[in-house]
Symmetry: C2
Subunit: 208 residues, 2 copies
Amino acid sequence: MEERRISSAVIRRLPRYFRYLQVLENEGISRISSEELSRRMHVTASQIRQDLNNFGGFGQQGYGYNVSYLKEEIGKILGLDQIHYMIIIGAGNLGSAIAGYAKFENRGFVVKGIFDVDPARIGTQVRGIPVMDLKELESFLSDNDISIAALAIPKEDAQSIAERICASGVRAIWNFAHVDLELPETVHVKNVNLIESLMELSYLLNED
Amino acid sequence: MEERRISSAVIRRLPRYFRYLQVLENEGISRISSEELSRRMHVTASQIRQDLNNFGGFGQQGYGYNVSYLKEEIGKILGLDQIHYMIIIGAGNLGSAIAGYAKFENRGFVVKGIFDVDPARIGTQVRGIPVMDLKELESFLSDNDISIAALAIPKEDAQSIAERICASGVRAIWNFAHVDLELPETVHVKNVNLIESLMELSYLLNED
């Protein structure tokens, strides 16, 4: 969509802009200066202007930003104007928690199926979403347009299952397994490593 | 513990070093060169040397790194040689998933209590951990040495509960609520924002 390559640091900040603009909109605020946004978000106004300039600006000198317009444009950049169908591998505690989190759906992330190998889980449902046999993965993926797969499984199984998913054409992996996946460069991987984020807290406590 | 202030980027990388060294140790590898570690971790050897030099080096010219020693030292830097007692606020899907994840305990992160306001949940247990009334938060915190509190609650409640937790002396918040907390600078906050990490994937898919 965009011509220029945007840095990953900017990409990581975009959802936060979206969130603050959503709050502003909910508060009935229709326009905001970069200085006021800066004060709320605890980032410099120049950082805000620089980030948003990556996408062509949006601000008007002496007026500031139109909150609803900017929110909508950032939403489009983030692909939130589209529906993304997802699957979850692993119907354990974490997989079920992700599947049960209805708020993702409000942003267009719709879980269509959950896969597991445990006979006790296969055939059950989480928030109406069926838990299917992992053996059915390939046939399900060929029948459904799935763009994101969440891996909520032990690290030992993650690489081989991720390869199966990618071989079926899924281009984004949301990886909760405690391992770095080795996948084709055309596949996007976002790691959520819970134990490592706890370790950062532990480091900071230790340093005090 | 350390004299110099270590950058947050280095801190974020430390748990990954620890994880790779753990794998090497499990494979029975007792020493490794920065070049070989670089090949495995997909970071440059010079980055590895630079990161580890923040803590005094550990490597020997012509020998490389002693895997077990380095793992143990990084573990100490990360505070993994200590037990960290935790509480979880929110016994919903996500809070229960965190409480149910026994692997944290193997690294010294021990959940001692879960708090909720829902009468249907209060008095139940998750993996043997009691779910208590949020009203009991302050008395529990004064009786127990808790260093980390996980917030697995809606964003509307997160700020006020975080303030109560910090007022009781807890110095680290693991925040899963979809909001930025405003807390004293002496409190360490690590945000895990699941919907924002999904949005990054959605951005990358959209950009293709």
